[in-house]
């Protein structure tokens, strides 16, 4: 027996074998399925849909929030970087405007200017003045670069052409990242000269490194070839090529998402720092990190969703099973009630009919009885015939036959008379024999060996004769159906304890299989369905025994026989003393069970 069989509710396989009013009204498993699916659908689907919508909305909100924040950060940082560069360029520009050529050519003055620049702005490493032939004519700084020829240098050509030059970052002789700012100044009538300053990148680096980027982000500068200009945390050191693509030119701050990246999706904000600088500001964040908080709440939400679905399913399954089971039980009770009503009606009409028949037969029997009696009287009194034993014998046998008939009618009457009759003192053996009288002929034809044994200490019991008859009749009929011809049925009556007596109906029939044994008292359980069995006999018997305050048990061994044990209280409901008082009050009326006791022998 699998788990499914174990938890399967009893109504599940309720086959609908009966028809008419005895049929179950509902298809229980269908109701159950319908209820479960419908309730699950109307509860779980909205829940899932709502969760999905919420998932989408909150994801979109979170993403747009991230992009917005990145954009803001990019544009602010861009402004700072641009300001830093502008500031230095303006400073150089100021110097070149302020000091005449001859003053700048003076290395002492140049060193003085460098000192002032260092103090006011910081980051300046050296200053040089280059004439239009590309020769450094004055230099202030840590190296001896005076007289160096720059005519073929790219930057010199560019500054000669554009008037201002901002270099990429490079290491140079100093082996520290720095950049060059060069500004051209016209020197009429025939030439120009260039003021060139080297700027240390530390300040800019610090500015970018100190930025609160969030999401393990990086802020750095690259040039237009994708070479890092400032160090980064995750994308390489200065002057290394970054793995990311160089974003296309845009005047404004831009934010892009790169979903396919080795370390997971990235959010990249960038801005070109003015059109005349080589720098592109990049702010790179790992999207997964940024979405971390949302992902946590998403996990909670999904956990909550599944938890809810689980609980809802449990409640729906449990609730539907319970309700359908209640319907099933109610319907079962209805069918039971129908059956019981039918049974009661049948018993009542059977009772009425047998009483009617008995009455109708009793009158002619009485006439036969009296006429035969009169004949006998006349014969016996008549001198001539007194000694004719044959005639007297014939009449006696007529009278004996009448006696037998009256036994039968009396039994019919007593069987019909059970309902509502007051409890009476009964001899159980007598009741059993009375019932055996009904079925005695069958026992005789089938050569059944029926014995009734009564222990000596069994007292009279106070009970309902009609019900007892019905119980015994059912059990005896049951036993007769189980035994084969020539079988045995033994009825043993014993004392059970001080207040109870026990009857055992033991047959040597085919027995009851173990799996059926626990079901045989259930209504509608029958192995004889379709063969005249209603499946109600034993359940009604069980009910009758309970009504009498007793209990009914069964023991059986297939192939060896079955024993039904009826345990009955000696006194029905009320205490004995009270009951027998009640009995005594009706003493003046007495139906004489005329000679019935002696005659009702078992056959």
């Amino acid at each position: 027996m699998g788990l499914i069989d174990h938890i399967k509710p009893i109504f599940w396989e309720q086959g609908d074998s009966s028809r008419g009013i005895y049929a179950y009204r509902f298809n229980f498993s269908r109701i159950w399925k319908l209820t479960v699916w419908l309730t699950l659908a109307v509860t779980v689907i909205p829940l899932v849909v709502m969760t999905a919508i919420d998932y989408r909305v909150s994801q979109a909100a979170m993403e747009s929030e991230i992009l917005l924040r990145t954009t803001r950060l990019v544009s602010n940082t861009r402004r700072s970087v641009a300001y830093f560069l502008d500031e230095r360029m303006t400073a150089i520009d100021f110097v070149i405007q302020n000091d005449p050529y001859r003053s700048l050519k003076n290395p002492v003055r140049l060193a003085q200017i460098l000192t002032h620049l260092k103090r006011s702005f910081g980051g300046f490493l050296d200053l040089g003045v280059i004439d239009d032939q590309g020769i450094q004519i004055a230099y202030a700084g840590p190296y001896a670069l005076s007289g160096k020829q720059y005519r073929e240098a790219g930057w010199f050509k560019e500054v000669a052409q554009k008037g201002i030059y901002l270099s990429d970052v490079f290491l140079g002789y100093r082996n520290i990242p720095h950049m060059v700012i060069a500004v051209k100044h016209e020197h009429p009538p025939d030439g120009f000269y260039v003021l060139r300053a080297t700027v240390d990148m530390n300040r800019l680096n610090n500015l970018l490194m100190d930025l609160e980027v969030g999401g393990d982000g990086d802020a750095f500068l690259i040039n237009r070839q994708g070479v890092l200009q400032t160090p980064s945390r995750r994308h390489g050191g200065v002057l290394e090529q970054i793995a990311l693509e160089v974003p296309p030119y845009s005047e404004h701050s831009q934010v892009r998402q790169i979903l396919q990246y080795t370390k997971g999706p990235l959010v990249i904000g960038y801005a070109y720092i003015n059109s005349d600088t080589p720098f592109i500001l990049m702010i790179v964040k790992e999207k997964d990190r940024l979405m971390g908080a949302w992902k946590q709440s998403r996990t909670q939400m999904i956990g909550f969703l599944f938890g809810s679905i689980f609980v809802i399913s449990l409640v729906i399954l449990g609730g539907s099973t319970f309700l359908v089971n209640q319907i099933y039980l109610a319907d079962k009770r209805r069918v039971m009630a129908c059956h019981q009503m039918e049974y009661a009606n049948k018993m009542a009409s059977l009772g009425r009919m047998s009483a009617g028949v008995a009455h109708e037969i009793n009158n002619p029997l009485a006439i036969i009885n009296e006429k035969a009696g009169l004949m006998r009287d006349l014969l016996v009194m008549d001198q001539k015939c007194r000694n004719d034993p044959k005639l007297v014998g014939l009449i006696d046998s007529v009278i004996a036959a009448v006696d037998r008939c009256s036994d039968i009618t009396r039994r019919l009457l007593s069987f019909a008379r059970h309902s509502g009759a007051p409890a009476k003192e009964l001899d159980l053996a007598e009741v059993v024999r009375e019932v055996l009288g009904f079925v005695g002929k069958e026992a005789e034809y089938r050569c059944l060996d029926v014995t009734v044994e009564k222990a000596e200490d069994v007292p009279m019991i106070l009970s309902d004769r009609g019900r007892l008859q019905e119980i015994f009749l059912n059990l005896i009929n049951n036993a007769f159906a189980a035994v084969s011809d020539g079988g045995k049925l033994g009825v043993a009556i014993e004392k059970y304890d001080e207040s109870k007596v026990m009857l055992r109906f033991a047959d040597d029939g085919h027995g009851i299989p173990k799996e059926d044994l626990e079901k045989i008292f259930e209504p509608f359980f029958s192995t004889k369905i379709g063969k005249g069995g209603t499946g109600l006999g034993l359940s009604i018997t069980y009910g009758l025994v309970q009504e009498l305050g007793g209990s009914l048990k069964v023991q059986s061994e297939p192939g060896k026989g079955t024993t039904f044990t009826v345990i009955l209280p000696i006194c029905l409901e009320r205490p004995c003393s009270e009951a027998s008082d009640g009995g005594r009050s009706g003493e003046n009326l007495s139906i004489e069970p005329e000679a019935a006791n002696e005659n009702s022998t078992r056959r």
């Binding site: 009483a355 008995a358 009455h359 109708e360 009793n362 009158n363 029997l365 009485a366 006439i367 036969i368 009885n369 009296e370 006429k371 009696g373 009169l374 009287d377 006349l378 009194m381 009448v402 006696d403 008939c405 009256s406 009396r410 009457l413 007593s414 019909a416 008379r417 509502g420 009759a421 009706g586 003046n588 009326l589 007495s590 139906i591 004489e592 005329e594 000679a595």
Partner: protein, 127 residues
């Protein structure tokens, strides 16, 4: 001892009466309950043996009518029914009465008659 037998089954009641007479019992019978009252008024029997179920006047009603005429009269009811009716109506009546289910053994009936007869005469003596 005078006995009144009333039963609508004429064959039954006549045979019963005849058997009693053979045994020297003064028994009168009728198959018509209406006539029973007249007979009782005339003879005031000691014991009446009545059928419970009779056309027009039942045994229990007849008993009341007879009791008015002869308060000392004792009753034995015969019934072919032995049903609840006999129990229930019997239990509401007072006074001593007996129910016998038909067909009754003649000896049983005789014995019952003697017992009642002895009781009533004994009672009279004591009174």
């Amino acid at each position: 001892m005078k006995i009144l037998l009333v039963d609508d089954e004429i064959e039954f009641v006549s045979a019963l009466a005849e058997r009693m007479k053979l045994r020297g019992i003064d028994a009168e019978w009728t198959a018509k309950p209406e006539e029973a009252v007249g007979l009782a008024e005339k003879n005031c029997h000691d014991i009446a043996v009545l059928d419970i179920k009779m056309p027009r006047v039942g045994g229990l009603d007849l008993k009341k009518l007879l009791e008015k005429r002869c308060p000392e009269m004792k009753f034995i009811f015969l019934t072919g029914h032995g049903s609840e009716e006999a129990f229930k109506s019997g239990s509401t009546e007072t006074g001593s009465e007996f129910y016998l289910v038909k067909p009754v053994r003649f000896e049983t009936l005789l014995e019952k008659l003697r017992t009642i007869g002895a009781k009533s005469t004994g009672g009279e003596k004591n009174g």
